[in-house]
Assembly symmetry: C2
Homo-oligomer: 141 residues x 2
């Protein structure tokens, strides 16, 4: 079994974020299903579909040369035999950065393919977390 034949959606998701942190374009793209029916929405970005557009978007992100860290907070997970949906919070920080930016909400969708579990949709958007709102309200008082 190739290292990209992920046995679970969790394994695929972990590999995706690890490759993202390494700015490893090949590693990130190996987590996506090979089908063209893919959806990728980066925070405040357009809806991208198809391998070429998704690949290009990560190439652009990585070309910034930023060293990003992603702490993943799992939320709800829904899973069937062939589809899994993970609603997660991404805490994305730059290496050596002390400031904690607002978390990013992501809905990650995985499909069980002939090559194991792969990502078929990634929808990420900036989110005011209830914790962040509570904290900011606290600060204001």
């Amino acid at each position: 079994m190739s290292k990209h034949n992920f046995e679970t959606p969790d394994a695929c998701e972990a590999a995706f974020y690890e490759a993202f942190e390494r700015a490893d374009l090949k590693g990130v793209m190996a987590c996506w299903a090979e089908q063209e029916e893919l959806v990728c929405i980066h925070p405040q970005g357009p809806r991208l579909t198809g391998h070429a557009a998704v690949r290009e978007s990560f190439l652009q992100i990585f070309s910034n040369g930023l060293s990003l860290r992603v702490e993943l907070v799992q939320g709800m997970q829904f899973q069937s035999e062939v589809i899994a949906v993970h609603c997660v919070l991404e805490r994305v920080t730059m290496k050596d950065e002390k400031r904690t930016p607002p978390p990013i909400s992501a809905t990650n969708v995985f499909a069980r393919t002939d090559e194991g579990w792969r990502m078929i949709a990634h929808h990420a958007s900036p989110t005011a977390s209830t914790e962040a709102i509570a904290a900011s309200q606290h600060t204001l008082h």
Copy 2:
């Protein structure tokens, strides 16, 4: 069969947006699964979980008294026996409003429950559509 025992994810989704346009809180909530494991993210809002929080959020939206129209543009759909994922664009306008705001990207997740297909996750975020970007670039030239 009750009118809320939706036979397909499409029927549930259509009922959800129709109820939303009518500011029909009961109608909107009837589209959600009865389980507490729900995720709802309104554009730029926090991640809400559970019936009470989801209900409260729609109550707040509807209490604005705005008459909203939603034109739904279907994108990718992924479906298994028990889970369906729809990646859609929502073109939300106020009635009698001529201006077209940027579309909202939504990822809607449905589960087949004992009461038919119901929504279990709704992740909506403002999105620069590629068409909108193309149009704005055209305008600038």
